[in-house]
C-alpha cells in the first residue's frame, strides 16, 4: 500500500485518455484518407507520410530540447493528428519540401513556441497551411485533376516518388482550378453561376469527391461520416460542428435566395473546400476552442460566418483556415466572458433571491397568526 503521500480523491477515473481520443480521430479520418489516396495515387500518400513524419520528428526534437519525457507526450498522438490534418489540406501532389516546411512550422511555431501541449493559441495545422499559402501561393494552388489509382495515366510508385521529390513534368496538363477557385475567378470576370457551373463543374459526381482539391476537400461526405462517428463515440460534442455548418447553411440559403446567380447554394458551401474537415476535425480542436458549451456555439458560429464572408467577399476562394485562426484568437476572450452560471448565483455572480411563492402551503401557514 502506498502511504508515502496523502492522496486525495477521487480514487477512480473515467476510462478515456488523450491517447485514446487521438486514436479515434485517426480512425474517423481513415475513410477520407483512403479515398483521397485512391483519387490522387502515390504522390498523395508520399505527401501524407512526409507531413506526419516531419511533424513527429520536430515534436520529438522540441520535447528533447525542453527536457520533457518523450514517451507520454509522443503517445498522445497529437503530432500525428496535426501532421495528418495538415497533409489533408495541401494540394495532393505538392513537392516534398512543402510538406516538410509545413510539418516543422506546425510543430515548432504552431505548438512548441507557445509551450507545448495545451499551450498553443492557434491550431497548428491551420497555422502551417496559412503560412504556406501566403509564402508559396503558386505551389499551394496547383490542384491536380483526380487520377484514380490504376487508371490510365496515373503515376506508379516510382513515378510518384519522382513527382514528390523532383517535380511534375507538365503541370498544366494535369492541373486546374478547384471548384471554389473556379467560381471565384468567374465572379471576378463578371459571370453568373449559370455561366460557370457548366462542363466538368456541373458533374454530379462533384459531391462524391471526384473534383480537384486537397485530400480533405474532395471527400466531404466521407469526412461527414467520420465526424458523425466522432460525435457518436462522444470524442467531440455537437456544439461546434452544428453551429459552424448551421451558420454557413443559413447564410448561404439567405443570399442564394436573394440572388441565386451570384451566391451559390447551401450544398455548394457545405460540400466544397475544407468546410467538413474544418467543422468536425479542425475547429473542434480542444486546445484552441472555448471550454464552455455556450462559448463553443459562439465559436462555431463565428467560424462559419467568417468562412462564408471570406469565401464570398474576400480575396481568397477558401476561408475556413483563416476563419478558424481568427476565432482561435478570440477564444481566450470567449472563455473569459462566457462562463456558466454558478449554482445558487445569478449570471452576474450575485446570490439568487429565494422564490417564496414556489411553495404555497408554506406561505399559507406563515400567514396564520
Amino acid at each position: 500500500m502506498s502511504n508515502a503521500a496523502i492522496i486525495g480523491g477521487p480514487h477512480t477515473h473515467e476510462r478515456a485518455s488523450v491517447g485514446h481520443t487521438m486514436g479515434m480521430v485517426v480512425l474517423a479520418l481513415a475513410p477520407a484518407v483512403a479515398f483521397g489516396i485512391h483519387l490522387y495515387g502515390w504522390p498523395a500518400l508520399n505527401l501524407l507520410v512526409i507531413t506526419v513524419l516531419s511533424a513527429v520528428i520536430s515534436e520529438t526534437a522540441c520535447l528533447g530540447l525542453a527536457g520533457k519525457p518523450l514517451r507520454p507526450y509522443l503517445l498522445d498522438g497529437s503530432a500525428v493528428i496535426a501532421g495528418l490534418l495538415l497533409g489533408l489540406t495541401l494540394p495532393p501532389w505538392s513537392p516534398w519540401w512543402i510538406g516538410v516546411v509545413g510539418g516543422v512550422f506546425a510543430m515548432v511555431v504552431g505548438k512548441h513556441v507557445f509551450g507545448g501541449l495545451g499551450q498553443n493559441v492557434f491550431n497548428p495545422a491551420m497555422l502551417a497551411r496559412t503560412a504556406l499559402l501566403i509564402s508559396f501561393p503558386l505551389e499551394m494552388t496547383t490542384w491536380i485533376t483526380p487520377l484514380p489509382l490504376g487508371s490510365p495515366g496515373a503515376p506508379d510508385f516510382l513515378e510518384g516518388l519522382r513527382i514528390t521529390f523532383v517535380g511534375i513534368a507538365d503541370i498544366d496538363a494535369v492541373s486546374g482550378a478547384s471548384l471554389l477557385g473556379h467560381v471565384k475567378t468567374a465572379f471576378t470576370q463578371g459571370k453568373t453561376l449559370s455561366d460557370v457551373m457548366t462542363g466538368e463543374y456541373a458533374d454530379p459526381s462533384l459531391a462524391l469527391g471526384f473534383v480537384r482539391g486537397s485530400l480533405g476537400e474532395t471527400s466531404a461526405l466521407l469526412l461527414l461520416l467520420g465526424g458523425l462517428f466522432l460525435l457518436a463515440r462522444r470524442v467531440i460534442n455537437w456544439h461546434i460542428p452544428v453551429s459552424m455548418l448551421g451558420t454557413v447553411a443559413v447564410l448561404a440559403a439567405l443570399f442564394h435566395f436573394i440572388d441565386p446567380e451570384h451566391y451559390p447554394g447551401v450544398e455548394f458551401h457545405l460540400l466544397s473546400g475544407g468546410m467538413m474537415l474544418g467543422a468536425f476535425f479542425i475547429a473542434t480542436d480542444m486546445v484552441t476552442s472555448p471550454s464552455t458549451r455556450a462559448g463553443q456555439i459562439l465559436f462555431g458560429a463565428g467560424c462559419g460566418a467568417l468562412a462564408y464572408i471570406i469565401r464570398t467577399w474576400g480575396g481568397y476562394p477558401e476561408g475556413v483556415a483563416f476563419a478558424v485562426l481568427l476565432m482561435n484568437a478570440a477564444t481566450p476572450l470567449i472563455d473569459h466572458h462566457m462562463r456558466p452560471r454558478v449554482y445558487g448565483r445569478r449570471r452576474d455572480g450575485t446570490p439568487l433571491q429565494p422564490a417564496p411563492n414556489k411553495w404555497p402551503s408554506a406561505n399559507r401557514k406563515e400567514r396564520e397568526p
Partner: protein, 496 residues
C-alpha cells in the same frame, strides 16, 4: 412526482452489485473498542468516565460541549482501559483523543438505559424541543458522512419555517450499499424516524429521494410510506453527485440554495436515511447511536458485505470478517471512491460517519500520471456547480487565490467530478481543496490581525482612560488640598 435536473455530474461505474445482494449482518463484538471523542463536526466531547471504570452498554462516555457538538456513548459494556491518543480515520494518520473500552461480551444495558427520562414514549405527544433534545442527547450526527450534529440541524426549524424534509437515499457513491440495504430491510423503522423528524420540524411533507438504480429500496420504501399521505418517494436518476445536499434539493424541488445561505433558509432540510433510522432507534427504543451499517467492498476484498458495526471497531476487524484481502489493495478508503478518504492503515476505528470501508485494487483506481491540460472543457461540463475548473486550477497553482475566488472557488463542493473526467488526470479537486485551505488560513490570519489591533487599541484607550483618571484624581486632590489649606488658614482665627 416531477424531478428536476441539476447541471453537470458524472456516471461512474457503480460496482454496487457485490455488496447490494448481501443482507446486513451483525459484526461479532470485538474485544476492544476505540471510541474517538470527536466523531462529528464541532467541539470534541468531554470524557465523563475514568480509566478502570466499568460501563454498561449505552452509558454516556463523554458529553457534548459547546453549541455544535455531540455526546459519545459506550457501544457495549465493559471496562475503560485507556483515555488517550489513537490514530484517527483520516489520511493524515494524526491522533485523536480516544476512549479505549475492553468489552466483556455481555452487552449489559444499564437500568436507566442512556438517559434518565429516556423511557420510550410516544414522540408525537412530546414537545418538539424535547424530542430534538433527546435526538441530540443520543449523539446522532449526519450519518451520510457529513457528521453534522442532527439536533443542531433540527433546531434550525425553530427559527425558520421548514416546508420540506428531504430524506437522502441517493447513495450516489460507487460501491456503497449500506443505505440501500437499510431502506430494503428496515423501511418501516426509517419511515417512523422520518415521521418523528417531520413532527420536530413541523414540516408539511417529507420527500424520500432514491436513485433509480435501487429498485428494491424504492419498492420497500413505497410500501412502508403507504399510510402516510405527507411522505413521498421520489425516484431520481443515478447521477453523481446526486447525494450532495445542494444537488439533491435542486433535483427534487427545482430550487437552488442561494449562495451564502443554508437550505433551511429556503425552507428545506436534508437528512440521510441512516440518520432517520438512528432517530427512530433513539426515540422509540431509547437507544443512543452505538452502531452503524458499513459497506465493506472494493475489488481487493474477498467477500464484500454490509455489516452492522459497533462504533469504535477497528477497520481490520471488518476486513477480517469479510475474508480479508483477495489481493494487496492499492488504496484503502473510508467512504466511497469519489469523496472518501485514504486510510493510513487498517488499525483505525469506525466512527459515526463511516459509511464504507473500500479496498480498491490497482486496476480499479486507474491511476495515471498527470499530463498538461488540453483545455477540452470536460471539467466545465461535469461541474455540478457551474464552475470552470480549467481556469481555476492554474490560478491556484500560481498562487493567485483572488482570481480563483472570482471564478467561484468558494462555491466548489469538492465532489471530484472534474478530476474524474479529466483526460489528462489532473488532480483538480486537490488544487481546490488546497486553495480553500489557503483561504481559510488567510481569513484566520486576518482575524488574528484584527483581534490584535483591537486589543492594542483597547489597551491604548485603557491607558488613556487611566491617565485621565489619574490626572483628574490628582487635580481633585490638589483642589481638596487647596481648600484644606484655605480652611486651615482660616480656621485658627475661628478656633482661637
Amino acid at each position: 412526482m416531477k424531478v428536476f435536473r441539476f447541471r453537470g455530474g458524472v456516471h461512474p461505474e457503480s460496482h454496487k452489485t457485490p455488496s447490494a445482494t448481501k443482507a446486513i449482518e451483525d459484526l461479532p463484538l470485538p474485544e476492544r473498542l476505540y471510541v474517538p471523542l470527536q466523531q462529528h463536526i464541532g467541539a470534541p466531547a468531554k470524557p465523563e468516565v475514568a480509566i478502570g471504570q466499568r460501563v454498561y452498554k449505552g452509558q454516556l462516555l463523554a458529553h457534548s460541549q459547546g453549541m455544535i457538538s455531540a455526546p459519545v456513548h459506550a457501544p457495549s459494556s465493559g471496562t475503560i482501559v485507556d483515555i488517550g491518543e489513537f490514530t484517527a480515520p483520516h489520511p493524515s494518520g494524526l491522533w485523536v483523543r480516544t476512549i479505549t473500552l475492553e468489552t466483556d461480551g455481555k452487552n449489559r444495558c444499564g437500568k436507566n438505559r442512556w438517559h434518565e427520562s429516556a423511557k420510550p414514549t410516544d414522540p408525537f405527544k412530546m414537545a418538539q424541543q424535547e424530542v430534538a433534545a433527546r435526538i441530540g442527547a443520543a449523539g446522532i450526527v449526519g450519518m451520510g458522512g457529513a457528521t453534522f450534529p442532527a439536533a443542531v440541524k433540527l433546531a434550525l426549524g425553530k427559527e425558520r419555517r421548514i416546508h420540506t424534509l428531504i430524506i437522502n437515499g441517493g447513495e450516489c457513491e460507487p460501491y456503497l450499499t449500506c443505505d440501500d440495504r437499510l431502506m430494503r430491510e428496515r423501511a418501516h423503522q426509517a419511515v417512523d424516524g422520518i415521521r418523528i423528524m417531520l413532527h420536530v420540524l413541523q414540516a408539511d411533507q417529507a420527500l424520500i429521494a432514491i436513485e433509480d438504480n435501487k429498485p428494491a429500496a424504492i419498492a420497500s420504501m413505497r410500501a412502508a410510506r403507504r399510510r402516510h399521505a405527507n411522505l413521498h418517494v421520489v425516484v431520481v436518476p443515478s447521477r453523481y453527485p446526486m447525494g450532495s445536499e445542494k444537488q439533491m434539493i435542486q433535483s427534487v424541488t427545482g430550487i437552488e440554495v442561494p449562495a451564502g445561505q443554508r437550505s433551511a433558509d429556503i425552507g428545506v432540510i436534508v437528512h440521510n436515511v441512516g440518520t432517520v433510522y438512528a432517530v427512530h432507534r433513539a426515540i422509540r427504543l431509547g437507544r443512543p447511536l452505538l452502531s452503524r451499517v458499513v459497506t465493506v467492498g472494493g475489488g481487493a476484498v474477498r467477500e464484500p458485505k454490509n455489516l452492522e458495526v459497533p462504533l469504535g471497531t477497528l477497520v481490520e476487524d471488518l476486513l477480517e470478517f469479510c475474508g480479508g484481502y483477495s489481493e494487496p489493495p492499492a488504496r484503502l478508503l473510508m467512504g466511497g471512491p469519489m469523496m472518501g478518504q485514504v486510510l493510513p492503515h487498517s488499525r483505525v476505528p469506525i466512527v459515526k460517519g463511516s459509511n464504507g470501508v473500500i479496498a480498491l485494487s490497482t486496476a480499479e483506481i486507474r491511476s495515471r500520471p498527470a499530463m498538461p491540460c488540453i483545455r477540452c472543457g470536460r471539467c466545465v461540463a461535469a461541474c455540478p456547480c457551474g464552475l470552470m475548473p480549467v481556469e481555476m486550477a492554474p490560478r491556484i497553482r500560481n498562487g493567485d487565490l483572488d482570481s480563483a475566488m472570482e471564478y467561484g472557488l468558494g462555491d466548489c463542493i469538492s465532489c471530484g467530478s472534474c478530476s474524474y473526467v479529466c483526460p489528462s488526470n489532473i488532480p483538480l479537486v486537490q488544487y481546490f481543496n488546497y486553495g480553500k485551505g489557503m483561504l481559510a488560513d488567510r481569513r484566520e490570519a486576518q482575524r488574528k490581525t484584527e483581534a490584535t489591533r483591537r486589543l492594542a487599541q483597547e489597551r491604548r484607550n485603557r491607558l488613556e482612560r487611566e491617565a485621565r483618571a489619574r490626572a483628574k484624581a490628582a487635580a481633585q486632590r490638589k483642589a481638596e488640598k487647596a481648600t484644606d489649606e484655605a480652611r486651615e488658614k482660616n480656621s485658627p482665627e475661628v478656633s482661637v
